[in-house]
Amino acid sequence: MNFFFGIKNSIVDSFLTIPRFQNSGLLKKEYEVFKLEISNQKWKISNIINIDHDGDFYKIDSSQIENENIFCLATKKEIRKFKKNNYSKLLNLNNYTDTSPAFRANLQVSIKGGGFSSYQSEYPYGMVSNKGNILSPLSSLLNNEADENIIFFKNIYELPIQEEFSAYFVNLKTKKVLKKITLITNFLNEVIVEKKFISPEVFLFTEKYIGIPIHCSMKNKHISLEHTHPPHEYILSEDKFKTVSKLKKEFSEIIN
């Protein structure tokens, strides 16, 4: 199962399109889009009915998007399972969006009167119950020549809590922390990145919680938006988790 999200920001508009069909072409009409947000330490769920003319896509415009909320596809029967746990935890309701190749919703972010960039806005259920560290290189996608560079960091955690956690800009070569940042769980965090940090040795490293770092650059009303790969995707052999853990341990030692 996947959750979907948007971006609320003063510079950009975002528009989320969730296909009702799988990429094999299969469409199950009973799957509807639901909005989930935190209210009084519980998950509050509401049904959104906004299907395009041809019935193929759910369209969610910026008026429905907040940095705190998320969306999912589910049947009404599946959504009722939340009542049983008193809306206290996110659930893996179905496998409708667990496809290969990956299911793709589209988050289109645009600058008013300017360019646009698309991002595949899935947040897999497997990530919402996990804690850990995210490691993301700054110079892979950010741009020293851009007018503005931002990392949008989305965390979705299974419990309906908004808790602060830390992230750091770390120089791996000098083994120094360059900056400490406070992020919030169940939120789309916005981290403005100064150009002095965009260098091959500098990485974003989070402590305690994971999430998806989406790197955004803007220049002359053009925009580019893309996520960095998690480090274990660079290694296909059996040593992948051991090798990545070793690297993350090195970062943990630097921040501590």
Binding site: N23, S100, P101
Partner: protein, 255 residues
């Protein structure tokens, strides 16, 4: 017994059976035949119509394995899979950047694909397989590049470059449908970039249009205004890169 079944299921023959019988199909399989393997996508380069391509890649061997003096070898091909040039880059940072424009490609204004392979002559550790999915940015007339990450594994080489592998993407006897989960209705122009990931000819169709792609060849297809874009092929992973245009701006992502 269980481990034997798993072993058979993961073998080339097992995957062939699974894919053709529809039992937990595996569109992509990396059964490396060599101990030290660098896997590459077929990354797109474009220098046509004012395009410039920026390639950003990591030094995986240094970052994860602390291997010094590793380097990368990049191999460039035309859209017809004709070899253009080989570039070796030494002295790598953790993150690196390469500009691919018509000057870099000796005046060629067209499109095609390239591969990146990591090299090390000093590594003597355990078996490893690495893949650099990287990020490729495209700009027209020197505007800000729009970046997308790698799309699909296509070729592999041993770290010393002596052994070559391919066909990580699988094909099946039955035809597969891949419907792009987006619409191209609201753009001035939309193009799909396909590369054949197999080392044999493939056939595919989009609507009533039929296409043939020879081994590792690539093609740009105009799908402007289409709402329902379904790709039908025996190739099990034929996911294109999308180029959308509107009001002088471009947006690139994997479809």
């Amino acid at each position: 017994m269980k481990s034997l079944i798993k072993k058979i299921a993961r073998s080339d023959f097992g995957i062939y059976l699974r894919n053709n019988l529809g039992l937990r199909p595996s569109p992509i399989s990396i059964n490396s035949k060599f101990k030290l393997t660098s896997v590459s996508d077929a990354f797109i380069w474009r220098t046509d119509n004012g395009y410039k391509t920026t390639f950003k890649y990591a030094d995986i061997l240094s970052l994860f394995y602390q291997i010094e003096n590793s380097y990368v070898e990049l191999l460039f091909y035309s859209k017809d899979n004709n070899f253009i040039k080989k570039v070796i880059i030494n002295h790598l940072n953790y993150s690196n950047k390469l500009l691919i424009d018509k000057t870099f490609l000796d005046g060629i204004e067209d499109y095609g694909v390239f591969y990146i392979f990591h090299r090390s002559e000093s590594y003597s550790g355990n078996d490893l397989t690495i893949a650099n999915q990287c990020y490729v940015g495209f700009s027209i007339n020197d505007s800000l590049s729009s970046f997308a990450h790698g799309n699909v594994y296509v070729k592999s080489q041993s770290l010393d470059g002596k052994l070559h592998g391919s066909d990580m993407v699988k094909s099946s006897l039955k035809k597969n449908i891949y419907r792009i989960q987006n619409s191209f209705k609201n753009f001035t122009k939309s193009e799909l970039f396909f590369v054949n990931p197999l080392s044999k000819k493939i056939y595919f169709s989009i609507g009533n249009n039929k296409y043939t792609l020879h081994k590792n060849c690539s093609i740009l297809i105009d799908v402007t205004g289409q709402k329902n874009t379904s790709i039908i092929s025996r190739c099990m992973f034929l996911r294109p890169i999308v180029f959308n245009y509107k009001g002088g701006f471009i947006d690139i992502y994997h479809g």
